[in-house]
Every structure is written in C-alpha cells, then in structure tokens.
C-alpha cells in the first residue's frame, strides 16, 4: 500500500483523539505566555536590551520564546507526547496483531507513523512561529517584521527535531507503557537544557539538544545552527534505519 494512503489512514485514526487539541493548545499556550512576557517586560527591559545588543525586538522575542520560555528545550518532550498519542491507538485497542496481519508492509506502517509525528510537529512549530508574529504585532514592535529569520527559525527547528522524532517513533512503538517514552523525552529535554547552557560543546552531540541550536542567542551565525541542521538530519537517518530493522524483525504477540 502506498505510503500516502497509510499516512492518510493514520491521520483519520487521530481525528477524534485529543492529539489535534494538543497540537493546537501547546503552541497557543506558549504564545500566550510570550504575550504576557512582552506585556510585562518589553517596554521596561526587553526593548532596551534589543537596542543595546543591536538586534530587533523580533530577535529578542525569538530568543525569549526559544530559551527563556523553553520552547526549544521542551520541543523533544512535546514530540514524545505526540508519539505516544500516535501509538496509543494501536496499544489501547490491542490492534498491533491485526495491523501486522494486513497485507501492508511493515516499512509502510513504521514510516507512515513517523510521517504523522513529523506532520504534527511541523504544525506545532508553524503555529508557534505564527503566534510569535501576532505577539509582536500586539506588543507594537516598532521594527518591521523580517520574514527571513523566522523562516530560518522554523526550518532549523524542523531539521533539529528530525532525530528526536525518529527516536521517539521507535521508543513509542517498542514500549507498551506510554508514560515510559514520555518520561525519556522529559529527562532528555532536561539534560539537553543543562548541557546546552553549561557545556555547549558537548550538547552539539546530544540528540535532544539539536532543536536548541535553532535560535542560539536569537541571531543564528555561521556554524551555530549546524547541530540543528546536520545533527538532526544525520541522526534521523541512522535512527530511522536502525529502528525500522528492529521493528521489522519484532514479534508481535
């Protein structure tokens, strides 16, 4: 069966679940927090900091969202939650046996689920970026909106999460206990936070830290974003292939 049909079927499975509300609420909640932050600190402190650092308010907003609010830190945790939603439908209805006995390739099942996770992660990232645009407009930023840094921010986040989505796609398929992989995502996010801010050199090699490099200091300079770009893509390829071979040889009992 074509991957496209499997992907669509996976989306249909999620139609009446709480996955959609979660995908909407997480970035909206983050943007509400940012709006509150801007209302409290923008005029008194953040705008002055932007002028002092020679950056625009839009850059400051991106940094606040990514580092202070913890959007970049918690991204892997949210992805772990998305993965549990996607795989919960198979585990809760004990449908693995049935799914595996249909004339569908295991590769199709495995990769369609990964694509669904990727799709929902992308929606979350886009909604967050769009929400930040509205936060900036509502807060009355004097500078005009520069689309390029935000497009780059979205794309770098997307490449940064590739490895994490691949890992959690496998973890959620492997563990029946959905809380387990989510806890791994939570712990991974916290380790990434500590590494990124205390040992940035080591964090370049840590899968969960890759999304954090999408907006290092709000001004992505050459080299800073490489872990998000190269690390994310490379780790995704390796983990996807390894995960797929394990999934292919797994007995579903």
């Amino acid at each position: 069966m074509k991957l496209q049909i499997l992907f669509r079927n996976e989306l249909i499975k999620q139609r009446r679940t709480l996955l959609w509300p979660s995908v909407l609420i997480i970035p909206i909640g983050a943007c509400c927090a940012m709006l509150m932050d801007m209302m409290i600190r923008y005029k008194d402190y953040l705008y002055g900091r932007a002028l002092k650092n020679g950056v625009t308010s839009w850059h400051i907003l991106m940094t606040e969202n990514h580092n202070l609010l913890g959007w970049g830190t918690f991204m892997p945790f949210f992805i772990a939650i998305l993965c549990s939603f996607v795989y919960n439908s198979e585990f809760s209805s004990n449908a693995w046996k049935k799914t595996m006995s249909t004339p569908v390739s295991k590769a199709g099942i495995y990769f369609s689920k990964w694509l669904v996770v990727l799709f929902f992660s992308f929606i979350m990232i886009i909604l967050n970026a769009a929400g930040l645009f509205f936060v900036g407009k509502i807060s009355g930023f004097p500078e005009s909106f520069d689309l390029f840094p935000y497009t780059r921010y979205v794309l770098l986040q997307f490449s940064g999460i590739l490895g994490v989505t691949a890992l959690h796609n496998w973890l959620s398929s492997y563990f029946r206990n959905t809380v387990g992989p989510v806890s791994v995502g939570f712990i991974g996010s916290l380790i990434s936070y500590t590494l990124f801010f205390s040992y940035p050199d080591y964090s370049k090699y840590f899968l969960y830290s890759f999304p954090l490099f999408a907006a290092k200091n709000g001004t992505v300079t050459s080299g800073d974003y490489l872990p998000a770009l190269v690390g994310g893509i490379l780790s995704a390829i390796i983990i996807l292939i390894a995960g797929y071979f394990e999934f292919k040889n797994r007995d579903i009992v």
Partner: protein
C-alpha cells in the same frame, strides 16, 4: 488505607518510576555543581558583587542549592508530579482494571485516597533524593561551615508541599483520561510559563505552578503577606480538589 497504599507500592515495585524520580534530582544536582564551578571561576570583583545580591552569599551550600533548585523547582517538579500521578493510574487504564478493582469490597474513597497519597509519597521521595544528593555533592565539593539543613531539607520539603495543589489536580485528570499522554501534555503546557511567572512581582500568586519555584528561590523579605496567601491558596485548593476528585470518583461509572 495502609494496606491499599502498600499494594500501590507493590504495583510499582519493578517499575521504572523509581529511576525517574531519583534520576531527575541527580540531573538537578549536577546542574547545581555546574553553578558552583562557574561561581568559583569568576573573578573576585564579580564574585563580591554576586555575594551582595545573593542572600546566601558565596557559600558553596547556598550556591549548590540555588543551582539545583533553579532546575528542579520550576521545570522538574510540576511535570514530575503529572508524570507520577499518571503512572500510578496507568496500570488500571492499560489493563482495563478499574472494573475489577471497583467490584472488590473496597471503598472508592479509600482507593482514591490511596492513589493520591502514594503519588504524594513518591513526590516527596524525589524531593528527599534531591536533598540527599545536594548534601553528598556539597561535601564532595568541599563545602565548609555547618550543614544548613533548613536550606537543604526543610526548604525543598515545604516547596514540595506547595506542589500539592498540582498533585491533587493531576490525580483527577489522570484518573479521567485513559490515554497517559493527555495529563502529561497538560502538565507540560502548564509548566512552560513557570520560569516567566515565578519572576513576576505579584502575578505568581495566581499561578500555583510557580509556587515551588517561588518558595524555594524567591526572596521572602517584604513578601510575607503573599507567602501566607500562597499557603492559604494551597490548603484551600488541595481541600477543594481532593473533595471534588473523591466525589467524582465515587459517582463515576466504570464501563
């Protein structure tokens, strides 16, 4: 009740929740150790400035506590509470065991309370692990002077008490949703703005997720009334939420 709680712990005997609740404090303490190393590396004049600002001065005990608690209280504890509460109801949801459990000659209120108390105990085991690892790390770092037990044990313990409203809310949510991802997702979203709100002057009082961070790290001087109000909110909300949870669990149809 005692027996029910011991059964709850028996269910968790071989669970990885033990790893989660002890590993998180270790990560926090490692973060605190980084703080100490960074502080020791800064030039003396900057250190003197820090000492003026920090209420505990340049004391290793205090720096280690500040560093560890700055990660544990705003980020870990609120989400960990959601994870723990989800974990202790997971088994019943996963094996559809609510039915058989409720047909046993056990009062529903006792069942609810045993799960709630087990969750709280796990939460405090994690908090005491934090205190334990902080003490070990501080000794290893060569901290001098008398051990400040009030700072390392009592303060985290009281911060844990301020997280009880979150625990009461999440026991209700996790009993309601069979999909474990839902309560954890809610916990994650609600924990996101904690570091922003906990730093505000008065707004934090409206947001119970910021209480542990505020109590552990905030300066109480001049904020005594707000702190009292915080404890009042905590006690009231725990009572209301527990009562609500009990009543809804008693009335709930298990199909």
């Amino acid at each position: 009740m005692k027996k029910l709680i011991s059964i709850e712990f028996f269910k968790l005997k071989r669970s990885t929740i033990w790893l989660v609740i002890t590993l998180l404090p270790v990560i926090s303490v490692l973060w605190g150790v980084c703080f100490v190393f960074i502080f020791r590396a800064v030039p003396a004049d900057i250190k003197a400035e820090f000492t003026k600002v920090l209420p505990g001065g340049s004391d290793t005990w205090y720096i280690l506590f500040s560093g560890s608690a700055s990660l544990y209280m705003p980020l870990m504890l609120p989400i960990l509470t959601a994870v723990i509460m989800t974990w202790i109801t997971r088994l019943e949801h996963q094996q559809n065991a609510w039915k058989s459990l409720l047909t046993l000659p056990v009062r529903r209120s006792s069942l609810f309370m045993s799960k709630f108390i087990t969750g709280i105990l796990l939460m405090f085991i994690s908090i005491f692990s934090l205190s334990f690892f902080m003490i070990i790390a501080a000794i290893a770092l060569g901290a001098t002077g008398p051990m400040p037990l009030l700072l390392l044990v009592l303060k985290p313990f009281i911060s844990g008490l301020t997280a009880l409203p979150i625990a009461a809310l999440f026991i209700i949510i996790s009993m309601h949703f069979s999909n474990a991802a839902v309560p954890i997702a809610i916990g994650g979203v609600l924990s996101l703005p904690v570091s922003l709100i906990a730093n505000s002057e008065r707004l934090w009082l409206l947001y119970p997720w910021s209480y542990p961070a505020r109590y552990a790290l905030g300066n109480a001087t001049g904020q005594e009334n707000l702190i009292i109000a915080m404890f009042a909110v905590c006690i009231l909300s725990v009572l209301i939420l527990t009562l609500f949870g009990l009543l809804s669990f008693k009335k709930k149809d298990i199909i």
